[in-house]
Symmetry: none
Subunit: 219 residues, 4 copies
């Protein structure tokens, strides 16, 4: 809240054409997502992005900084989704349905961004990482909690459940789902529980989750 944070990109990067900025970030995302943080090679990112290593270090302070910038991209996507769905004037349970649908869609489309997100832990425990993760999680925390409170006001959700706790459990379910759609490991796990044909069972998963949530929370 109000803390300032070392800028992750240098001025030189901000001045770049959007096209170039995008090219660099896309390449970085793709590499970090497919190789993981440790196995990603800055020299290769430079090469694939069509710029020099020297330039990378003119634009970003370090490999870690570049990585953190790609994470920020992910946050933007997430924020956009939430801001579209949450403030609408549907019922709580309708919003849940839309959120799950959005996760199913975006997880597949933005697989790489989500994979990167799960790389966050391997980057070590710098304050910067903490700060960044704070921002990422704070968005969902706030919005979901607000959503639940509203649901309690409108009588859709039991009043004896703690709104923050419900928000937390909801987010746990959503994040797990997200991973299941984008990480190799979690996909495998998904299949172990539910069988090999999940790809064409989006509707089944959606319905079951909505039913589960609706039953769990209904006043």
């Amino acid at each position: 809240m109000g803390e300032t944070r070392r800028k992750l990109t240098k001025a030189t990067f901000d001045n770049l054409s959007n096209e170039k900025k995008l090219m660099i970030l896309q390449t970085a995302i793709s590499e970090f997502a497919s190789q993981g943080f440790d196995h990603t090679n800055i020299n290769i990112i430079a090469e694939k992005a069509g710029i020099s290593v020297g330039s990378i270090y003119k634009y970003f302070g370090s490999k870690q900084d570049l990585f953190l910038v790609t994470i920020q991209q992910g946050t933007e996507v997430l924020k956009t989704i939430l801001q579209t769905i949450v403030p609408s004037d549907q019922s709580f349970i309708e919003k849940c349905r839309d959120l799950i649908k959005a996760i199913q869609k975006s997880s597949r489309e933005q697989q790489q961004l989500i994979r990167i997100y799960s790389e966050l832990t391997s980057v070590g425990n710098s304050d910067l990482v903490k700060q960044l993760s704070y921002e990422i999680e704070a968005i969902s925390a706030e919005m979901y909690t607000e959503l639940v409170k509203e649901g309690q006001r409108t009588g859709e959700i039991m009043k004896d459940l703690d709104p923050a706790m419900v928000a937390f459990l909801m987010d746990n379910l959503f994040i797990s789902l997200q991973f299941s759609y984008s990480s190799e490991y979690y996909l495998q796990r998904f299949k172990i529980f539910l069988g090999d044909d999940i790809d064409d069972r989006d509707t089944f998963v959606l319905d079951q989750m909505v039913r589960f949530l609706s039953s769990a929370l209904k006043a």
Copy 2:
């Protein structure tokens, strides 16, 4: 059932005194958990465990093998917990309560094992990793699904929910909780949702989760 798997430890390791075996595994677990797979240095494990590098390679085929052995340790712990709680003759919701309690307890005690577990994804996609992860997940998948089916038979759980799907959602909640108690990152996230004083709020978390589950599933 009958799947064979390359042995991860060589005979020379099996012949070691339990004391020595434990020393080596503890050291390895501790290093892998704190540094992650890539940043763990075999030479340092050897040094800290008081043996030579050469010996490590007499005991385990490779760094990855040693890592996988530490994972197996984690599986054993998990299996033990599940096998204690699931077959008991309590009600479904009582079993859930016990499971959550066990997670709260073991997550704190075995923090490192759980951190290692979340390293599994970064080790790449060797068939071995897949095989191993299969075994890890298959235990929970089977037991939870069975638990739900039984709950449906006894009338504790709604019959129109898919047992496998419920098991999956339960496991998602449990795993997320586990991470929250053992990973720096997830602990931070936990606090963002619920505030800084969770450590002394185990009972609150337990109650809320049980209430959430019980409400979600009640027939």
Copy 3:
């Protein structure tokens, strides 16, 4: 003819100053020749050549690649000698005399290159090694065979000897001589047969070999 082969040097090496290129190759040749392939240490080559290990790997793909480049150097020397002598318009036997002289001279001057050549066999049986050795031997095979055929046309050489076989036997004699001048082991063997004072008996060796060949082949 049109066979392509993986380039052994990277562009970064080709761009180096001749002075630097030479320095690196000389160092490598010297190390490989004196230590053999397996006992040659890339770190030491780098140090002696006054560059970093990293650079070696920017210039050459691997230790083996660097080794093969040094072999190619040897081939060039050989090719140059053959191309100077074989196409001349002397008699067959005069050419033999010149070849032997050239071997006596170059073997002493290029001792290291020849020692490296005899290391070829120990590098294992990669296709690359096979390909490279093919090129090395093919030069002599072709030129000598052609030389013999010409000698048969001009009536200098018996027509009932197979030209390829004669070329092979000649090359055997030449190679053996070459080794005798450059390898410690073969020098010792030379002395066992002919006594310790060979160094000042070049003319004797030359005369005897020419006489042997001329008698063996004369029509």
Copy 4:
């Protein structure tokens, strides 16, 4: 001659049963021949020979000593062949024919021993190696030189050729042939000169070599 030499085998080895001795030497020969000196692993020799590493070091002073013993084995084989053929009462050229035949036969049968022989150079330049190589070469040097002298006495060989030099050239041809039949590299070279179907052209090679030699030396 009369120099004593550090014994390569310890008394403990000499006391072993012939069966066991043979087993160990065969294994060592096979490994050294297929892997080369540097890539041969003493621990693997022990394992394949069915004894312990500790024992190997009770029998032989070092890896190098064991290697040198295997070389001695090769010398024995060679000595036996020479002693069968040279003292016979055939003509010089008949003996040459028999020698070449013997090389063709033994090279194929004793491939491994001959491959080991060409590993001698990589073992470094200890006095021991020199001494050993001396013994190996001295046998051929003496016998061939004597053979030539006798040929000159009987009038089969030109008197103006130096007997030691002729012996040397003959040995060069024989050794080259030997390599061609047993080393991958030299076999390839052989084929480059003479085409792919050498295996069934033993008679051709034999005839051509005899003709070459007989013509080269005839009085």
